[in-house]
Every structure is written in C-alpha cells, then in structure tokens.
Amino acid sequence: MDPKSEKTARYGMVIDLDRCTGCGACMVACAVEHNVPPAESSATPRTGITWLRVYGMDNGPEDSGRDTAYIPMLCQQCGHDTPCIAVCPQNAVDVDPTTGIVGQVPQRCLGCRYCMTACPYHARSFNWWDPHWPAGMEKTLNPDVSPRMRGVVEKCNFCHARLHQAKAKAALEGKRDIKPADYVPACVESCPARAMVFGDLNDASSDVALAAAAAASFQFLPRLGTEPKVYYRSDRDWIRRKADHTVHSSLTEAEHR
C-alpha cells in the first residue's frame, strides 16, 4: 500500500441496548454538532431531520409483563452492497476507502431521494424546508460542519468533522495516524448511560472490535447482506430475534400489526 496514505480503518460502533434508557441526549448532541436546524412548526416525525433517532420497541405482550427496549438508529455504514451508494445518479454518496465511512455530500446532491427509498434503516433525512435558526442562534453553529440547504438529503457520517480535526492534530505532530481518543462521535461522547462504544473494527484489540465480536452482539436486518458497521448488543433474546428479521418473525410481525 502507498506509504503516503494512512492505514485503512473500518470505523464502527457497538450500542448496548441494555444500557440505553431512551433519554435522547444522543439525538440532541448530534443535531447540535452538525448544525441541524430546529424543526419548522409543521414538521413531524416523518419530515424531521434526525441523523440519529431513538425508537422504542416492545416485546409484544401489552400487560405489565411487557418489556421495552430503546434503539438508537443511525446510518449503519453498510460495508457491503451499500444500498444507497449504487443508486445515487451523481456520485453524491460514496464509501470512504480509508475509513469505511459512507459519506454524503449535500453540495453534490440534487435531491432525487432515491437513496432514501433504498435505505432499509431509514437513516436518511431530506431537507423539506430552508434551514432556519432563531435570531442569534446561528452564531452558535459548529464551525467545522457546513449547514445544508433546502432540497438535499443528509445523514450520519460518524462525525467526520471530528476525524478531520484529529487528523490535523496528528499532522501537526508529523503523524498520519490519529490517536483513537481524539476521534469520538458526539453521540458516543454524550451518552449518559455510556451505551455506545466507537472505534476501528480493523484494530482487533480495540474495545469496539472486541464488543462487536462478543456473543451478545448483533446487527439489524443482517440477512439483507449489507454488513452494517453499527452493531448492537443485548442479553435479551427477544430483541435479537426481532433484529434478525426472519421469514417466521416477519409473519408474526404482520399478525401482530
């Protein structure tokens, strides 16, 4: 490999669903970090812009014997057959060869929303409105992330701006590879329950790689073959069963609905 370019990483995440309490701190931290504007008055859960969204999931029975899990859903950074990349007509979506992060460039996007129909995780949001900030609040924008304009799609990129800064810091010291501690996404940093672990899956010794390899860890919709780099973990069987969408579960789901 070219010595000029840094060693290739595969950034990924493991989210512990037994720790998550659905407090929503990650969602706010994410929106603040990425200069996502507050909702328009008529915005709804279906038209809002959330790079990261926490869903509630019940085990079915609706007596007090029921169990609930809160599931933070962000771009799963699919590592294979990434559904959104192939469909974009003008290369606004790509997977970064050195980090494995699926990137989205709003300035290239023409807003056809084909990628949104392609994403099974509903991890993409469209800018249905022009972005608006209350007077004065635009002064509190994060200088490392450019705000998006109306009519384009946006999504999680593992706080890539933070990776930029980590790399710049390393470069100043003449290094190409960053210190893992210098690159932590906003959601991971903010989680009060410390439910999220982030790092390089290629680095077998990293916490995230170990957690991802652990028995209790799993992916959502693994059978689609998109190999998400966002893993989840739980000791509760019913969650793992639902996440691994099988023919059987899909039928019972339908019954349930």
Partner: protein
Amino acid sequence: MDKELIPRGVRRTTPGRFLLWLLPWIALLGFGLYGAYLCLAEGLNQTNMDNRFAFGLWIYLDLTVIALGAGAFFTGFLLYIMRREELRAVINSAVVIGLICYSGAVAVLMVDVGQPLRAWFTFWHPNVHSMLTEVTFCLTCYLTVLIIEYAPVVFKNRKLRQVPRFLVFEFELHKLMPVLAGIGTLLSFFHQGSLGGLYGVLRGRPFAFREELGIWPTTFFLFILSAAAAGPSFVLITTWLVQKITRKQLVRPEVFRFLGKVSGILLLGYVLLKTVDTFIWINATSPSIGFAAYSFYRSSSFGTWILFAEIVALGLFPALALISKRMCERPGILVAAAMMACCGVMLNRYVMTVQTLALPTLPFDQFLSYAPSWQEVATFLAVLAYGMLLYSLSFRYMTLFPQERELSRFPGR
C-alpha cells in the same frame, strides 16, 4: 389564417368551438403551473411526501405515462423496422402521444427533485451504476429523438410547406426515420427497463428486490415487456377516443384489430414471465433476505387480491381477449380489453412505487400511508392539460391520421 393552417381535404370544427374546447384545459394548465410554482419557490414541504415516502404521486405517474407513451417507440419499431405498413395510419398520432408523455414526465421530474439547478450534475458527474443515471440519459436522448420525429409532422403543415427549405428538410428527415426508429427503440428499451430496475435493485426494500439476470434485475425486463404491451393498447384507446370526440372515422378497423393483437400477444408473454418471476420471488428471493412474501400482503389494505388483479384480472383476461379473433370483432370489447391492459400496467407501477415504500422494514416500523397534497395533484394536472392542448392543436393543424382524408371521402370503408 386558421383556415390556411388546416390540412387539405379534412373538415375541422369552427375556430370558436375549438377555442371553447381549449379554454378549460388552458385554465387547468394555469392552475397546475401555480401548484408547481409553489413547490419550486417554497420547497418540497408543499408536498405530502416525507422521509419514508420519499417517492410519491409524481414518480408513480411518471412511470405510468412513460409506460403508456411506449406506444411511440413500439409503433415506430413495427412500422419502420418490421415494415408493418398498416401502422402508418397511427404513427403520427403515436409520436405526438409519446412526445407529450415524455416531455411531461421530464417536466414533473424537474419539480420533483429538490435542487433542479443541479440536474446537469448527472451528466457531468454520472454514477454509471445507478439505474437513475440510465433513466436520465435515455429519457433525455429519447426526448430529442421524439422531437426530431415530431418535426416532419409539423413541417408537413400546409402553411409551412410553402417554405421550400422546410420541404427539403422534411424529406431528408423522412429518409432518416428508420434510423431514428431504431435509436428510439434502443433508448426506450433501456429506460423502460431501467425504470423497472429502479425498484428491482432496492436490496433494502424486500418487497421490490428481485434476482438479477445478467446485470439487471428481472423487473428490468418485465417493465420493458409490459410497456411494449401497454403502448399499442394506449394508442388504440386514444385513437378510438379521438374518433368518438370528433365523431369522425380516422383509421380503418383492421388497424385497431392489429394494434389489439400486438398488445395481446406481448401482454400474454408478460403475464407468463411475471407469473414465473412472482413464484421465484415468493419462494426464493424474498425468503433469502428474511421476509415472507405473504407478510407484505398482511399488514394492510394491500391484500393478495392485488397480485390477482395485476396478473390475472387485468393481465391474463385482457391478453386473451385481445388475441381472440372473435372478441376483437366487437370494437366495444376490443377497447375495453385495451383499457384493462393499460390499467393492469398502471396497477403494477402503483404497487412498485407505493406498496414498496409503505411496507415496514425494521421490526419497530409501522405500515405507513400517504395521500398527495393538492400541489402534487395540480402539478400533474398541468401535464395532463398540456398534453390535451398539444394534441388538440396537432390534430387540428397537422395530419395525425393519413387515412382520415380518404375515409372522410368514402365513409364506412
């Protein structure tokens, strides 16, 4: 002035009545353009689409009109390549319909995308793997072809013929027609197909995802076939409608029957392949990614009846009707069958667009519904009105049906 423009030997209503006919369509066009303006000026919050229903009425109707507009390329193909001369009677009309459908679809797409000013990026930074790139390229190219094909029809106009250069040009173009028809066929083949591929490649949408033949999912070929089948039927219907509205006989009955037969044969082929594909999908494709095909039909009003309607009621039945000689003797049945064929294809496009998006993928998702906003409807009505206007003008001032003149001289032949 108006008189001099009307082709020789045919009778057309008075300018006054013609204007009266145009007025409502002009009004509708105005209303529709206002809706489109709102979407462009205020942004797509004017629509009822959302992050889950990222495609809505517009995409569905684009697919539909392009399927119905396939008449243009397929008639051209049969006439110029397969040398089926009887189709010369409707080729001009078919071309106009194609032009309307395609230009309309492109116009709506320009409103549908969030950043129309960046549309040209697709040509400058194309992603060759994207079905949508294929669609964009073929659509624009084919639209140009249609315009060139439409040109001679215009130049044939009585007044324009007086300019000698135009006459020469028109003559030259005519020699070009077979080539254009060939190119048109090729282009249409690809964009009709890639419109189908659009959904077939959606690995993340188990309802739409299909196995691949070569580099294309099966929907690619099914869309081509269904469009080719629906096209002639639509030409048949429109011609019949024009006859009814103008109370004139424009083409000989055998033309209708031929169109019907062509449509029927293709439709039968489509139905067979669709059935095979559906079985593969139910038993292999969809289970392989963890979804039981039946679950798609349990979660809502989209019951299995849709499959039946799409394949049998609006597929097999009209196909058989169109093929059988005895039935096609009766124009009523012929037209009805053609309509059913078109409805079947429209239903297919509807299911592919709407049901695909309405169905949940994640275990905690809900089945979603969507109803277009008036701005969305209006924008599409604008296309309808524009089509009506363009067709009416073409019919009045150009020769869309060459047989009309003699038929009007010896009616009932």
